[in-house]
Subunit: 336 residues, 2 copies
DNA sequence: TTGAAAGCGCTAACAC
DNA sequence: GTGTTAGCGCTTTCAA
């Protein structure tokens, strides 16, 4: 195992002091052109890269940004991670990602690990950990929350207009003539899940409709949850011509339940999602949903983190969703 | 921003020297029981966690394992990442993941960044970077290659029996009575893609069949690639009753092309994948494929990396795939 | 068994 | 502009 080159070696070879090399590396101060040229040549020749651990220790910054995601193998959060990584690409910062695996205590531990690693900032993707936990943490490190409102975190939340998104879906289905709805929600403790559900219900109320409680199910935003919920909905025997899912992943699970039950989409049941993850356009039939520019949201989150680190104030973002009509919705066969 | 607790503070509060605290932390030497108790109490009270940067600098190990993945939002590699993360969970090591975005130069850069970060080992998931690049790297840091053979890397490759997997698929379709096949392959430069293709062709030859070259397409292992390839296959006008895809993601894309073309699955065309990613059982119809325990492969990769770091020799793993028959395959309607 | 002291590779005052 | 000098928080000889 070859030993890595150090800054001291570079300095020696170039006949300058370590500080000069450091200054050139960081642009901290002016350096005479001839020395700069000499040093840069040596750096290139030796293929020198500064040791980030040493930089972190000496500089008090670790040049890393911690990211907590509920899951590493989620189509949805995966896109956000890709956006974050891309946005950090041309900066000295690097993301370090830990998953909370949809469990509160794991998420807590993930945050602790990141703190121990002395990350310079934290980006929290969704997540189920309590606001109470986050607030004290925000005293130790700048936090950007994505897809959730954290009371007391001020402007550093990046959210989607969930109510608008769900209204677009509901109005689309209502205008197709649907009157009998079933709904699969995310978990109670997730603020965006509650926002979507509330918007759905209020839209229906405005149209003079109230879905029976038995047709309001919970699927925890996961594929399996959506499948189970759809199975329970079908088992009620209650009629519905449209099945509204609070995210695309649950719609995918629900699709399987409908397939197994022999219900055709959209002929027998119209199906909708929320998020427009990459795989939704590949479903059979392609899914009508609401586009949440999750990759861009990831990019924004990274930018906000960088701004915070640069001493600038964070700026609240509210992304606007967009209806994407595909083949999974159609007028009900027998309008009731 | 509260200042983190340091080892020196702990030592002072407990009335011992820093070295003693360090020894307790690392189990490096025996410590008198009473001091140990006192120190541990202080650690707990102050919620002290050692600074990993400082540990890295002083100890010469960064306690991180670099992971290079082609993509952060891939159902397939996402599972592997989850496996790696889980396996490292109860160790002092942490993964740091960088994506190569399916581009050689990015992958190279990812490896360089990880080296600069002084990772203690590297796990390379698939990837398209040349073996030539990997071999010198292996001198600087232990490397585990997953899903590809790297000549010269010795035992530290974890692979799947691709030939067996493809044989299972081909034999399944042949036994259903299919005689007219189309095939969508991964890229030329990926050794596993070539292994699967070779196995497919040899299986067909044994059955006395040779698919026309126009029905052998390339889809680069991605959804869009599969869709495009399937569109080109359909455009040839040549008949085929079974469409074999070298991975599930391409099968998903191909499914959309078939849907758009009005070809029913499996009535008009039987469709198969490879990998059994989590979403394949959720396709409409659920996909017949070959299961590659990718999560477990991730776990193994992490274990091998830990063994290497522990000075033990790596051990070559060859995982055995398993046929998973679902609804996307059926006998051809008009056996030709 | 324990403490003192040196040093990991770098940055940042501080002088010159 | 540039070099010298202290550390950053930890581990690890080396003595005691």
């Amino acid at each position: 195992m070859l030993e890595p080159v150090t800054l001291a070696q570079v300095a020696r070879e170039a006949g300058v002091s370590p500080s000069t090399v450091s200054r050139i590396l960081n642009g901290t101060a002016n350096v005479a052109p001839d020395k700069r040229v000499r040093v840069e040549a040596v750096i290139a020749r030796l293929n020198f890269r500064p040791n980030p651990q040493a930089q972190a220790l000496a500089g008090g910054r670790s040049l890393t940004i911690g990211v907590v995601t509920p899951s590493l193998h989620s189509t949805f959060y995966g896109e956000a991670l890709a956006g974050i990584e891309a946005a950090l690409n041309d900066t000295p910062y690097h993301p370090i990602v830990i998953s909370g695996q949809w469990r509160t205590e794991r998420e807590q531990e993930a945050l602790n690990v990141l703190l121990a690693r002395r990350v310079d900032a934290v980006i929290l993707l969704g997540g189920i950990v309590d606001d109470e936990v986050l607030r004290p943490l925000a005293q130790r490190v700048p936090i950007i929350a994505v897809g959730r409102e954290v009371q007391g975190l001020g402007e550093s939340c990046i959210v989607l207009d969930n109510a608008l998104g769900m209204r677009l879906i509901a109005q689309h289905l209502l205008s197709l003539g649907h009157r009998q709805f079933a709904y699969i929600s995310g978990a109670e403790r997730q603020s965006d899940a509650m926002a979507r559900k509330a918007a759905f219900l209020s839209c229906l109320h405005e149209a003079g409709l109230t879905p029976p409680p038995a047709l309001m199910e919970v699927g925890h935003y996961l594929e399996d949850g959506g499948q189970g919920a759809a199975e329970r909905l079908l088992a009620t025997g209650l009629p519905f011509t449209a099945l509204v899912c609070a995210n695309d992943q649950m719609a995918l699970g629900a699709r399987l339940a409908l397939y197994r039950a022999g219900r055709r989409v959209p002929d027998d049941v119209s199906l909708t999602g929320f998020d427009d993850v990459v795989t939704s356009r590949l479903m059979t039939p392609p899914l009508t949903t609401v586009r949440q520019a999750i990759y861009d949201i990831g990019v924004s989150a990274a930018h906000e983190a960088l701004k915070l680190l640069d001493g600038q104030p964070a700026q609240r973002h509210v992304f606007t969703p967009e209806l994407v009509v595909r083949d999974s919705t159609a007028p009900p066969r027998r309008p009731s």
